[in-house]
């Protein structure tokens, strides 16, 4: 076939690309260049992977064409609103909706008794009902749902619902929740307090470990709760059809779990329910479980036979929460003189808020990953989660590992200081080794932790800056680890964690179907890139159909940083199966053995003689003619043997771990206590960057969110109420608060990751908070033991370090008791 013909076909099959003026690799139209071979399973000479190209879904995002859940509008659609509790803790005596139902325009209402099925995202804590049944447990707990012809009428109707409460004492702190003399938020006859979950694990010989230690260090830290605050307020549209089928469009990171739980709660066969996850306007873990508004909308659509939309207000998003747990932590570590850890005991107390959510997993996570970062030969972990009358806490980016990471990295700095070891050097000394197993049975494969520390330290001239000891200027380092997907699913089953289908169209277009939810992390592009790389086509030749339980195979969802590793591997397998079908047919056409068939630049060719080629379209058509419809399926499940064998070993194992190191440089105003972060440098072992721009974007986003948690973000309560449920008072960093960020991508080419990839969505957040805290400690010569590191706490720390003489001085007591003045 002549070059000219190849070129003609190559452009003609992609009118979209050319018309929009996107620059595809210029080599596409110049086939004289020897193409890289990219045989399946041999990660070298990539033509798509490793290239920074605009994300395949970027164009919809920048033109306003992306349809988010609240953008879905259906004929005859009703609008719903939830009535929420105004009491932090009360018995519900009566909920009378009769006046609301009389308001013209109101179509239906629902209360707790209408949808009484208990559920929970974790099968072990089914402690929620869609609407409060007999008790309200936090200000904001949904009590009733109203649907009306328009939103304003539904809102007006809420005022006409009469609720009679019988107030109960509210429990607002961990300490109060541990008391035996207060009412239980959830009745539990096995306890007398409000403890939700206790975990006690011990590995290795703790007694010998502490006995062998030259020194023992003990510290206590507190991590304040904070929330995801995604820009998109949660929204749902539910439509029950005359065919008795229900469709739910929801801003959810986990369409599969919503699908399952909607079936349970509505007592409908799952086969009659379709969940569609449109693009999610930010999740960060805040949209990973079914919410009251979603299930209430579904119920009311079934009841009225009309589509129902419920979109939360910003205030309601703060109530829906499921964000970062406040955690109190105590760490005791025994070390040798050279810093080698001999034993470590970590205790955590989590303030869980009003419901279980993912809290059992969160509790385990506060202890699970300590050993995946540093070598700890003996490890004891005691975790305790309590219920309080606050919005339920759940998973936020870093899920349960962020809080102990803050504590542990601060603790390590204190140890390094006391032993006279440089903090960066110390971390390298005790870092885990690649291809090792932790004392709690976790399997570590690729690990670039030392490379990350070196890169971040070198790029910032860390050693010299650390040595300068200039009051007010500080530099700090911290390292971290994160999962590439939870090793076990949320509900026990033996099915794959992710599935994908790849189909080839007669026009040469390829579609990948996968149940992932795109929440900005780049999952659509990742799927397209992996399929394009495998089939040797351009990333824009691939259409992605995701997050639709009717159309796509299950993917468990966008949580635990699992999508690239798990859905990526499923898509890769599906694409490889398609490739193998095409390769068989192309080999015959090219007159070569099948192992010599290469795919790249929209060509299928002889790897030993690249000019012997046919274009992808021709190969695909020949394959369809010979073998019939071209499609491949792929699945991924983590390998066996990555976890220990003990109760609770299900939380922590992952097919791979990412590693990060962060250096923060700060300026602290010693008069006001204000902290200015001048620069953040973060090196992240991502395994392999499928799209380096996207990886950088995840690093920068993680740095941003970590910065907010380190310096300003906190969920605070007063008199049982969220004090600041709005985006003005709940402070998040604006563009003016952002320091320059330098991202360093470290590639360790994980043997099991798709093309070597691991994760970047959550890992990079974790080290940012302790790096800033350590930099502040370096700047002021004193430590703040809790987040956020506010000016007030900085001044208090300075004051305490100076023995109370510097500032915030209490009036000194008179040296001698004053004599009464004589009249």
């Amino acid at each position: 076939m002549a070059e000219r013909d190849l070129r003609t076909v190559s452009t003609a099959t992609n009118p979209d690309i050319d018309a929009a003026g996107f620059t595809v690799d210029s080599a596409v139209s110049s086939i004289a260049i020897a193409a890289p071979a990219t045989p399946a399973g041999k990660p070298e000479g990539f033509s798509v992977v490793g290239k920074s190209t605009p994300k395949v879904n970027a164009f919809a995002a920048v033109t306003g064409a992306a349809i988010f859940a609240d953008d879905v509008v259906l004929p005859r659609m009703l609008h719903g609103k939830l009535l929420r509790s105004t009491k932090p803790h009360a018995r519900l005596i009566k909920v009378d909706c009769s006046r609301a139902l009389e308001l013209p325009g109101v179509v239906a209402v629902a209360t707790g008794a209408d949808i009484p099925v208990r559920y929970g995202i974790l099968p072990s804590s089914p402690d929620e009902t869609v609407l409060a049944y007999d008790t309200v447990r936090y200000v904001g707990d949904p009590i009733a749902a109203v649907v009306a012809d328009d939103e304003l009428t539904a809102e007006e109707a809420l005022d006409l619902i009469d609720v009679t409460y019988e107030p109960l004492p509210s429990i607002m702190t961990i300490d109060a929740a541990l008391r035996d003399d207060l009412p239980q938020i959830h009745a539990n006859p096995r306890r007398t307090n409000n403890v939700h979950k206790e975990v006690h694990l011990e590995f290795g010989d703790m007694g010998a470990g502490f006995a062998d230690a030259d020194r023992i260090f003990e510290d206590e830290y507190f991590f304040e709760g904070n929330t995801h605050a995604p820009m998109e307020e949660h929204s749902v549209v539910a439509a029950f059809g005359a065919d008795s089928k229900l469709t739910i469009w929801a801003s959810t990171q986990t369409p599969h779990y919503l699908h399952r739980i909607a079936a349970q709660v509505l007592e409908m066969p799952a086969s009659r329910i379709r969940v569609i996850a449109p693009p999610v306007g930010g999740g960060f873990g805040g949209k990973t479980e079914p919410f009251a508004h979603e299930l209430a909308a579904a119920y009311l659509s079934c009841k009225t036979g009309r589509p129902v939309k419920i979109t939360l207000t910003r205030q309601e998003v703060f109530y829906a929460h499921r964000g970062r747990h406040p955690v109190k932590m105590r760490i005791k570590t025994g070390v040798k003189r050279d810093g080698t850890i001999t034993a470590c005991h970590l205790q955590t107390w989590l303030d869980g808020g009003a419901y279980g959510s993912y809290g059992v997993a969160t509790t385990y996570y506060t202890g699970a990953l300590s050993t995946v970062t540093y070598k700890i030969p003996a490890y004891k972990f005691d975790g305790c989660r309590v219920f309080t009358n606050k919005p339920p806490c759940g998973p936020k980016r870093g899920h349960g590992t962020t809080q102990p990471r803050f504590a542990f990295e601060c603790h390590l700095d204190a140890i390094a200081d006391a032993l006279g070891i440089d903090a960066a050097e110390y971390r390298k000394r005790i870092a885990v080794d690649p291809h090792s197993t932790t004392v709690n049975g976790l399997r570590i494969t690729s690990c670039g932790l030392r490379e990350c520390i070196d890169a971040a330290a070198m790029r910032t001239d860390y050693a010299a800056k650390r040595a300068r000891k200039q009051k007010g200027k500080g530099i700090g380092i911290a390292a971290s680890t994160y999962l590439c997907g939870a090793g076990l699913p949320i509900y026990w089953n033996e099915m794959p964690h992710s599935g994908a289908i790849v189909k080839v169209d007669r026009g040469g277009g390829v579609t990948v179907y996968c149940g992932t939810s795109e929440c900005g992390q780049g999952s659509e592009h990742m799927l397209a890139a992996i399929v394009a790389e495998t089939l040797g086509i351009d990333v824009m030749d691939v259409r992605v159909c995701s997050g639709d339980t009717d159309l796509t195979p299950v993917d468990l969802g966008s949580y635990s940083s699992r999508v690239t590793f798990m859905a990526g591997n499923a898509a890769r397998q599906a694409a490889a199966r398609v490739r193998s079908q095409i390769a068989d047919v192309a080999a015959a056409k090219l007159g070569i053995a099948v192992d010599r068939v290469g795919f790249a630049l929209r060509r299928v060719f002889d790897v030993d003689k690249p000019e012997n080629a046919i274009n992808f379209l021709e190969a695909a058509q020949a394959t369809e003619a010979k073998l019939g419809t071209i499609a491949g399926v792929g699945s991924y499940a983590p390998p066996p043997g990555i976890a220990g064998d003990f109760k609770g070993s299900g939380v922590g194992p992952s097919p791979a771990y990412s590693y990060s190191a962060c250096v923060a440089e700060v300026d602290v105003d010693l008069e006001t206590g204000a902290v200015t972060v001048e620069k953040i440098t973060l090196a992240h072992d991502v395994g392999r960057a499928i799209n380096p721009d996207s990886v950088e974007g995840q690093i920068e986003g993680g740095v941003y969110m970590g910065l907010g948690e380190a310096l300003m973000e906190e969920q605070i309560f007063r008199a049982g109420e969220h004090k600041i449920p709005n985006l003005l008072d709940y402070k998040t960093p604006t563009i003016l608060d952002m320091p320059p960020v330098e991202s360093i991508i470290i590639e360790t080419d994980d043997a099991e990751g798709p093309f070597g990839a691991k994760e970047a969505g959550q890992g990079p957040l974790n080290p940012v908070i302790p790096a800033i805290a350590n930099a502040v400690a370096d700047a002021i010569g004193a430590r703040v033991y809790s987040t956020p590191v506010t000016p007030e706490k900085v001044l208090k720390a300075l004051d305490a370090a100076s023995g109370g003489v510097l500032r915030l001085r209490k009036p000194a007591p008179p040296a001698t008791p004053r004599e009464p003045v004589a009249p």
Partner: protein
């Protein structure tokens, strides 16, 4: 049936076209743009003027459409994200956002694009400094990107527009 006040009919100029629209006068510009004109590209993140997601241009000036009553837009030129492109050709700032990865989840993006477009179109080919760009976007919140690539994208668009205006 609704509790809202009776509708008014208003002649508006939206994205370069004359439109007539009937809506309750209590509605905000945000609500009318999204619900009555079907231009769902404009987003909402708080409806209290805190987040900037609903930014549109009124007579070329960025406005928080959640705080503006729609009736105030009578006779004025309203531009939403759908009106940024010229036909099939994206505004340089849209192209730059796509290229730089400045949109992650994309929800705050339309608001940022409108603030940025007003800044860029008003710069008349002048090269903007980074603080100028940041200052103009300080009212827009983003939870995904850390703003880094947003600044990069606006600077890239600024450079390209400057080049274009030089001829």
């Amino acid at each position: 049936m609704s509790v809202a006040p009776p509708k008014v009919l208003l002649a508006m100029h939206v994205n370069g076209a004359d439109v007539e629209c009937a809506f309750s006068p209590s509605k905000t510009l945000l609500e009318v743009v999204r619900e009555d004109l079907g231009l769902t590209g404009t987003k909402h993140g708080c409806e209290m003027g805190h987040c900037g997601a609903c930014t549109v241009l009124v007579d070329g000036v960025p406005v928080l459409s959640c705080l503006e009553l729609a009736v105030e837009a009578e006779g004025r030129e309203v531009t939403t994200v759908e009106g940024l492109a010229r036909g099939a050709e994206m505004h340089p700032v849209q192209a730059a956002f796509a290229e730089c990865g400045a949109a992650q989840c994309g929800y705050c993006t339309p608001g940022f694009l409108m603030s940025a477009a007003a800044l860029l179109d008003g710069a008349d080919g002048r090269t903007l400094t980074q603080p100028e760009i940041a200052e103009a976007l300080a009212g827009n919140l983003c939870r995904c990107t850390g703003y880094t690539k947003i600044i990069e994208a606006v600077a890239l668009a600024n450079g390209r527009m400057a080049e274009q205006s030089r001829g």
